[in-house]
Amino acid sequence: MGYSGFRVIKEALTGHKGWKPAWRDPEPQSAYDYIIIGGGGHGLATAYYLAKEFGKKRIAVLEKGWLGGGNVGRNTTIIRSNYLLDGNEPFYEYSMKLWEGLEQELNYNAMVSQRGILNLIHTDPQRDAFTRRGNAMILNGADAELLSVEQIKKEYPFLNFNDARFPIKGGLAQRRGGTVRHDAVAWGYARAADRLGVDLIQNCEVTGFRIENGVCKGVETSRGYIGANKVASCVAGSSPRVMSHAGIRLPIETTVMQAFVTEGLKPIMPGVITFGAGHFYCSQSDKGGLVFGGDPDGYNSYAQRGNLPTVEDVCESGMALIPALGRARMLRMWGGVMDMSMDGSPIIDKTEIGGLYFNGGWCYGGFKATPASGMCYAHLLATDTPHKYAAAYRFDRFRRGYVIDEKGMGPSPSLH
């Protein structure tokens, strides 16, 4: 049964006895056409679009823990399509368009809030760079707007405009950017995929691949062997571990990234803002907490917790931008482990093993990509050809020299 305002009122009047579990809890079958490893946002979206857009059947999502328990539940919930490079911007703008129709599509309130994102400018060269970026965005069908200091003061009067080192000189705004309730994205896709017959199998860890004559025949799991025509890894954060079972080395290292939230405050922050002089981004959740983050910890890590120097660094950046932040108490902090690719851009591609596909390398920008990642990965799985918006996200771009290095950092994953 669908969700609607009418339904909420009806259930409220009848003691909420009519709600059913949002998805089934099926036992794994012996074989599927498609197995997607990883029940996070990207995996669930892939399963959903595979069933919905490509009409495929016999699809399973295998999740080692619980649905949405990985990075889709551990991010700062920002959506945006403000990239510069040709390989990236069309993909992220496609994702933004999918976000805009997502809730109707899934019949699920994911609290998509296009409250706008503002990248602050602190130097003249940065204004040049952001102007160029804004033009690249507009050329790819996204929206971009260069704001003056006066315009920013109207929306964010509390920023530290006249800081001696980092005065604010303007900003690049994307009004269609914003935030989404991250857990609801996983739940919405899970429910919608389940209704199309996808088996969502939790507590089912993939421990190996059965590969015969260079072709993947299925996966060994903690719940036994499951055969499959096509196996699709979608486990950003654990990609090197999972793919090592197939003997595949990746252009990826794993790093921890921290995020923070303050106690609930009255509304102060209308949209998402990013500091251009350090690395700091902040928005206010609907519960009132200021959600913010900064750089990753900067060394390889699989621990879902970071170290204190990064906490200090992020908070210093925050204080430089928003002096009032010092009066708020930090309520929670958490760390997520991420696939950091060698050029800071993701990979959606076949592997050298037949029937085995790969989606990963999202660095710390995977959340905003969820719908497009799912759609493009489903396209690859269903047709064996890359989706036009993900055509640049291939393994061979590194060897061929076609890296998509948005920050120009070179092959140092922890710096992207």
Binding site: P240, R241, S244, R249, L250, P251, I252, E253, T254, G298, Y299, N300, S301, Y302, A303, N307, P309, M342, F398, R399, P411, S412, P413, S414
Partner: protein
Amino acid sequence: MIINHPLLGPRDAQEFTFLGSASLIDRPDWQAEDALEQFSDYTYLRNDTGGENRELWFHEAGDRSWLVVTRNTFTHEITNVEMASDVARARGRSK
């Protein structure tokens, strides 16, 4: 994290910058026939599957020496610290 510098004793990890895998010491031979493949592997491919990791740290705010730090990426526990120059010499690098 505290890095136990072989020359300077325990130092805060904040004094260091991180480069990456210690496999970067083993630079391929640029004159080899398959140098392109070797350098592509060397530059881009990793086997970062968690657990014990040997990595290069630079003591930027200290004596500016390169260290090879053996660290567990699940627990952040550091079990061994060597001078990168010693490691490189032991592996047949001349300088």
